[in-house]
């Protein structure tokens, strides 16, 4: 499922949860989901400061309700990452407003990067999360 405030993503993907609001609203919604049975599939933040100023953001999450023993580590990791991401985002954006002058371009790039993330998932689709799976603690 894609949590997004990007209209371009909403109109081109089926499994989306649209958030009315800005980048931070998307992160906060992801956090709500991550604390109620979902894990992060893609990282909440982009790969450059520039992308942090984007008015739009899309994050892929998935429902994870297999037996608790194996999945606790993944839940912990997702929760830790979303909490840290929100904290850092708020600190970095500071007094600035997201760069709404370039919303159209950010929508395009966010959409293209999302497609890239989905391609990445397809490439590594067969990962099995077994007992030896160790999440960095």
């Amino acid at each position: 499922m894609v949590v997004t405030n990007n209209f371009l993503v909403k109109s081109n993907f089926e499994d989306t949860e649209f958030v009315e609001g800005d980048f931070l609203d998307v992160l906060n919604y992801v956090r709500e989901k991550v604390y109620s049975g979902y894990i992060l599939v893609s990282h909440p933040l982009g790969a450059s400061i520039r992308m942090l100023f984007s008015p739009v953001r899309s994050v892929i999450i998935e429902k994870y309700d297999i037996d608790l023993k194996k999945s606790e580590a993944l839940f912990d990791e997702s929760r830790r990452l979303i909490d840290e991401s929100i904290e850092r985002y708020v600190q970095i954006i500071g007094k600035r407003n997201p760069d709404t002058r370039n919303t159209r371009d950010y929508e395009k790039i966010d959409y293209i990067l999302l497609k890239s993330a989905i391609e990445e998932i397809d490439f590594i689709n067969n990962i099995k999360r077994g007992e030896t799976f160790e999440v960095r603690a």
């Binding site: 992060l40 599939v41 893609s42 990282h43 909440p44 933040l45 982009g46 790969a47 450059s48 400061i49 520039r50 992308m51 942090l52 100023f53 984007s54 892929i60 990791e77 997702s78 990452l81 840290e84 991401s85 904290e87 850092r88 600190q91 970095i92 500071g94 007094k95 600035r96 760069d99 002058r101 370039n102 159209r104 371009d105 950010y106 395009k108 790039i109 293209i112 990067l113 497609k115 890239s116 993330a117 391609e119 990445e120 998932i121 490439f123 590594i124 990962i127 999440v135 960095r136």
Partner: protein, 428 residues
């Protein structure tokens, strides 16, 4: 592999009738260059300008920077990209040192990256000291963003090759040789020196966030071993158009300072085993695989120490600390090189992620550090772009004197995480 770089010092660039080097001045034929670059059917128009150190010229937004080089007896070029697929890392290469091709022209409106050739801004970019040949590319209608970016990338690389023809018959005393045998051979020579691997992280997340290894997009690959010679010889190219301060431009790959420094110490203080290139994946699963694999490759190479450099900021911080923790848990000492985003006062948490094993970290500067850019006499590129740059906030622009406050993250190469930079951090 043996790579010989013959450095021809350039201290000035002029337009003229032919491509040649006269003393320390590079002469280029503007019309011929433009004509050849326009052979690419996606190119609508190309304009060429020169920007020299000290001139009150601003170049913005910068897409890539490339060092012009000419390999003697071979047209390998950037193999797999501008030339046929072939092995790089060997041979004799003439380098126009002190000169750079700088491409401009935005693919998207929020692109940034400024090079000021004078004043305060010049202090913060390595490219205020190079004689820059600025190539502005506009493309034909109807291209999608991928095609647009690819065109700009190819034209920049081609421009550097055409210009480098000027060096074809020039001789020089300034020669740098990079010569290394197999790991086995080197380890037999230096059995007691600590074995060190350099792990270089590359931004690999899609359009405008890409890197290429022999032309292969690093977005969907596993970490891979490469010889340091290959990177120094043009095997790694930048498709990163977003992170001005810490994007690794092609020029910086060609002159990777971490690689050059490790090479200098090889056989004296360390046994430099080689380089592992690591794609920074977008998904968490991708990161787990990439980081596990990286640590495994280092272990297979029997590294005792690893230096890890990052590209970008944000989600790659997670990969950086994951690689560190996996290596340290295997008993391999790890040093990280990264920039930080610690606010205007430098006091905030520097990275977006942490690990208790990350205890040896070199900071290449605070991207939030605010500087003041004076009004330029001439702008190559988009004069409006300056108001787009990361850090634009109310009060940043001074209408009286036309100066602009901006954060370092808008300046090309300001906090380069592979060492081509002027900034570092002082502990109080």
């Amino acid at each position: 592999m043996r790579l010989e770089l013959r450095k021809i010092s350039i201290e000035g660039v002029e337009f003229g009738e032919r491509f040649e080097v006269r003393g320390k001045t590079l002469i280029i034929n503007k019309e011929e260059l433009i004509e050849e670059l326009k052979e690419n059917p996606n190119v609508k128009e190309v304009s060429i300008d020169i920007a020299l150190p000290g001139e009150k010229v601003r170049i913005i937004p910068v897409k890539d920077v490339i060092e012009p080089r000419f390999k003697l007896g071979s047209d390998s070029g950037f193999a797999g990209v501008t030339g046929e697929v072939t092995q790089l890392g060997e041979g004799i290469v003439n380098v126009l040192e002190g000169c750079a091709v700088v491409t401009i022209g935005d693919i998207v409106g929020f692109q940034e990256g400024v090079i000021d050739m004078w004043g305060e801004g010049a202090r913060w970019t390595p490219f205020s000291k190079t004689c820059n040949i600025v190539v502005d590319i506009s493309v034909v209608e109807g291209l999608n963003p991928h095609e647009h970016e690819e065109t700009c990338r190819l034209v920049g690389l081609r421009a550097s090759e055409i210009i480098a023809r000027a060096s074809k018959d020039v001789t020089t005393d300034k020669i740098e040789v990079f010569d290394m045998g197999t790991n086995n051979e080197e380890s037999k020579k230096y059995p007691d020196l600590p074995r060190v691997v350099y792990v270089e992280m590359l931004i690999s997340q899609g359009l405008l966030h890409a890197s290429y290894i022999y032309g292969v997009d690093s977005a969907h690959i596993l970490p891979t071993i490469i010889s340091p010679n290959e990177e120094l010889d043009g095997a790694v190219i930048s498709g990163n158009c977003v992170a001005a301060c810490d994007k690794i431009t092609t020029y910086q790959h060609q002159n990777n300072e971490v690689i050059k420094e490790l090479y200098k110490l090889h056989g004296k203080e360390i046994n430099f085993l080689g380089v592992v290139l690591v794609p920074e994946m977008t998904t968490l699963n991708g990161k787990y695989i990439s980081c596990d694999y990286t640590a495994k490759l280092c272990k297979m190479l029997d590294a005792q120490g690893v230096i890890v450099s990052e590209e970008g900021y944000g989600n790659p911080d997670t990969d950086l600390v994951m690689i560190c923790s996996r290596l340290e848990k295997q008993g391999i000492k790890t040093v990280l090189i990264t920039d930080e985003c610690s606010g205007w006062d430098g006091m905030s948490q520097p990275l977006t992620d942490t690990a208790k094993e990350a205890v040896a970290v070199i900071s290449t500067g605070n991207v939030s550090h605010v500087i003041s850019l004076e009004k330029a006499e001439k702008v190559l590129g988009d004069p409006e772009a300056i108001s787009n740059i990361a850090g634009g906030w109310t009060g940043a622009y001074n209408e009286e004197d036309g100066s602009m406050k901006c954060e370092l993250n808008a300046v090309i190469g300001a906090t380069s995480e592979i060492g081509t930079h002027n900034a570092t951090v002082k502990l109080h």
